[in-house]
């Protein structure tokens, strides 16, 4: 409980700092929404009115205070353009991003662990070299490039998957078909990274005393590598999952733009482009919350995997 309270305090501090930075950035970037969206139709009166409606004419600390106190009440305000509650706008697209990032994370874990396991078990062989090469290639290729290549290959040339959108609501197969390419594009880099991480962790674990003991007892090699060694090798992997989820949500913007998927990444991107800061602030806050919750979940999972971490958490020190 004490651990959770400390984490909550840290989370609030993080949110306040990030939002303060965001508010300061907003002020330093030139441009206003009325001029961008209406061009020459934006009269000085209209611009001034929109700035006032967005609350940008107030002191930065007042803005931050008003924003945070409203958020506590669950009120993110109203979008200046569409006059809809901002929380509705974010909530409409958030599931798409979570599904995309979640699927990408799932693919990364399944294929990353599998490839890492194969590479570790075949250390020094041609398969290990090939997987090492592939992993580095995956890690070093930006998801933007992967997205375009997958689109051209599997949608345009082969017509296996649809190009744009999220699919018909209520048609699970259609939605899955729309998910395959963007999720793969996002996952590929993390597959390579996880494969290298798992390989390294497994190789280290496989040389430890208790593994030698297991071998001495005649436990089958696949069981040693796939269960006993892998469990310990997963500790560093789980530690990066929180960061991974945050990275995937951040990278989702490219996939969302290229595959024309509505999502929180493209929402932030488009809102910044038109200087719609209230929407940016709300969307960024939601991402921070997800990130914080994901990292909290990671700590709790780690404590289950490694008793030393659980003990450190109880004692209130860094594991």
């Amino acid at each position: 409980m004490a651990f959770l309270l400390r984490r909550a305090q840290a989370a609030l501090f993080t949110i306040a700092c990030v939002m303060l930075m965001l508010f300061m950035l907003v002020r330093s970037v030139p441009g206003d929404m009325a001029s961008i969206m209406l061009g020459p139709r934006a009269t000085p009166e209209l611009r001034a009115r929109i700035v006032a409606e967005m609350g940008l004419d107030q002191n930065i600390f007042v803005q931050l205070w008003l924003f945070l106190t409203r958020v506590v009440r669950g009120d993110f305000g109203e979008d200046i353009i569409s006059r809809r509650p901002i929380i509705d706008i974010v909530a409409e697209v958030l599931p798409n991003t979570l599904i995309l990032a979640g699927t990408a994370l799932f693919l990364s874990l399944v294929f990353g662990i599998l490839l890492g396991l194969i590479a570790a078990k075949s250390r020094g062989s041609w398969a290990d070299s090939l997987l090492g090469l592939l992993s580095v290639a995956f890690v070093s290729t930006p998801s933007l490039v992967v997205s375009i290549v997958l689109l051209l290959l599997f949608s345009r040339a082969l017509h296996w998957f649809p190009v744009a959108g999220v699919g018909d609501s209520g048609d699970m197969l259609d939605q899955l078909a729309h998910l395959v390419l963007p999720a793969t594009a996002l996952a590929l880099g993390w597959i390579g990274y996880i494969a290298r991480l798992v390989r390294a962790a497994l190789l280290e674990t496989l040389t430890e005393h208790h593994i030698r003991t297991l071998r001495a007892y005649g436990v089958p090699e696949w069981r040693i590598a796939g269960i006993y060694a892998l469990r310990l090798a997963l500790v560093p992997l789980v530690s990066i999952l929180g960061i991974g989820l945050g990275d995937l949500i951040g990278s989702a913007v490219f996939a969302e733009l290229i595959f024309a998927r509505p999502g929180i990444g493209s929402l932030i991107f488009n809102s910044i482009a038109v200087r719609n800061y209230p929407v940016v602030q709300a969307a960024v806050l939601i991402i921070i919350l997800i990130y914080i919750l994901a990292n909290l979940a990671v700590d709790l999972i780690n404590s289950r995997l490694d008793p030393r971490i659980a003990r450190a958490m109880r004692e209130g020190r860094q594991a």
Partner: protein
């Protein structure tokens, strides 16, 4: 009983039936009747309030959902009565109208009456329910008041004669007739839940994804829609849109000029080209340093190779503009001089002005075509001894130049403005009063301002055309604008579809979309 089905055909039929849900959507669509057309929009719906709409996507939805007193004919700038049974011009400043009876607003908001017309236009004349002036108020700026004379009849009284009122106001989205009852009930929700009596109704909107227009069976006007459904998918990226079209997920989309060649190779599809009426030009700030000397401006105009810009930056997909108003508009000036590149004359002008080693900045958007244009201008002007520094900006910073007199620091600027069908809409941005706002040339001319005012109030078409030609001559003499292009718009559509667009290519008339 005659056996028409053997074991083999039963199995084949069964297999097709079983596999049908797995068929890609385009196969299913092809097999289905043409009950809908799928179009791509590059921006999502933002605000459907006619007076606060954001762009043409909003305007196109408004015009398909609402009636106007008169509606543009299919693909033309002429118009016919829509909600109005009769419109009479009593004088240059007075019109009377009579509505068709029995025109019902959707969603149970009752019959349209002259009170609804007054309510809709009063929002532009005065302000909305919260006292805020509408963003598009100037579209109906000539309107003084609307008087209701009967359940279906009323009078439109103008402040001054206004030949442009119908073209840019009453027939456009600003002239949409709203239900007073619905608008008052919806409040701010009008931005996304528009209620009208037009050919379509907005049946569904999934933000950032798609919207659906469904035919309004109660529509009483002449513009009856062909397709029961128009599905508009939001795809921002033009390349993704073309791929989506190639995958048969779309029936109609705009195409980037640079992709027009690729689009022409798509089978079972047609590409259409529509000359634009917008205008792209290089603005020269007449108040800034050496540019204050007209000889320097003339030298720069002669030093820039517009044909090279058309070929290099636009891939030769557009034609060259000679002046402000595009061909076909009132006041178009076919005899406008064409300034071909003349290095010797340009150098001589600079020498005459005593300019050596001149440096200027070139401000543009940080997008592909503007950047390519900037680089060509940089290379061109280097040949006459002018050093150009490119200042590429994101759209936010760029459009911020339209406020707080920020344009005073600009020198050369690449600008593209959108047009309307009436020349007064284009000329208004070059007025003296716009210096510090959207007149980035900062060129002031009392004669130009006077002619603009005259043009607004002149109803004789021939006289009016001459006024706008005279205004363009003044602009030409100022050498403050180097015209590049009016643009050209490319679209690709399925060969069975017959899209319908107004000549500016921005106004899509969904109600007139049909089958070829």
């Amino acid at each position: 009983m005659i056996s028409f089905m053997n074991r083999r055909s039963f199995l084949a039929g069964g297999a097709v039936f079983a596999a049908s849900p797995l068929l890609p959507p385009f196969v299913s669509a092809a097999l289905a009747e043409r009950k809908q057309a799928v179009v791509r929009v590059d921006v999502d719906i933002a605000n459907l309030d006619p007076g606060n709409r954001i762009g043409t996507v909003d305007g196109n939805v408004i015009l398909s959902v609402c009636q106007t007193l008169a509606r543009f004919d299919a693909g033309k700038l002429t118009w016919s009565n829509d909600a109005a049974k009769e419109i009479k011009q009593i004088s240059e400043t007075e019109y009377t109208f009579e509505l068709n009876p029995g025109q019902m607003f959707t969603d149970g908001y009752g019959e349209m009456t002259a009170e609804d017309v007054k309510f809709s236009f009063d929002r532009f004349i005065n302000s909305d329910a919260k006292g805020k002036k509408l963003a598009y108020a100037e579209d109906l700026g000539a309107l003084d008041k609307v008087e209701v004379t009967g359940k279906y009849t009323g009078r439109l009284l103008l402040k001054h004669p206004s030949p442009a009122l119908w073209l840019i106001g009453l027939c456009d989205a600003s002239g949409a007739i709203l239900s007073r009852k619905a608008t008052e009930a919806l409040g701010d929700k009008i931005a996304t839940q528009i209620i009208g009596s037009g050919p379509y109704r907005l049946a569904e909107w999934r933000p950032k994804e798609q919207f659906v227009l469904e035919i309004n069976p109660d529509y009483k006007g002449a513009a009856k829609a062909h397709f029961p459904r128009i599905l508009a998918k939001f795809i921002a990226e033009p390349k993704t849109a073309l791929l989506s079209f190639q995958g048969k997920e779309l029936d109609f989309t705009a195409v980037d000029p640079s992709s027009a060649g690729e689009a022409r190779k798509v089978e079972q599809a047609k590409v259409i080209e529509i000359e634009g009426i917008d205008y792209t030009w290089i603005s020269l700030n007449v108040e800034k340093g050496a540019l204050a000397d007209p000889r320097v401006r003339q030298a720069i105009r002669l030093g820039i190779d517009i044909d090279m810009i058309i070929a290099g930056a636009y891939g030769a997909a557009v034609s060259r503009a000679k002046t402000l108003l595009a061909p076909g508009l009132i006041g178009a000036w076919p005899e406008a001089p064409l300034y071909n590149r003349d290095l010797e004359k340009a150098k001589a002008l600079l020498a005459e002005a005593g300019q050596t080693g001149l440096s200027v900045s070139f401000t543009c958007l940080n997008e592909a075509v503007p950047m390519a244009t900037a680089q060509i201008v940089q290379a061109n002007l280097a040949e006459i001894g002018v050093t150009v520094t490119i200042n590429a900006m994101d759209s936010g910073a760029y459009w911020a130049m339209g406020s707080d007199d920020k344009s005073k620091d600009l020198e050369l600027t690449l600008i593209q403005y959108l047009s309307k069908f009436d020349p007064s809409f284009q000329t208004q941005w070059f007025l003296s009063a716009q210096v510090g706002l959207w007149n980035w040339q900062r060129w002031k001319s009392a004669d130009f301002d006077r002619l603009h005012a005259e043009g607004l109030a002149t109803t004789d078409t021939v006289k009016r055309a001459q006024i706008y030609i005279d205004m363009q001559k003044l602009l030409d003499e100022s050498a403050s604008c180097v015209w590049i292009t009016h643009g050209r718009n490319f679209f690709i559509h399925a060969d069975w579809l017959k899209p319908c667009l107004l000549p500016n290519a921005m106004n899509w008339q969904y109600e007139y979309f049909g089958e070829a």
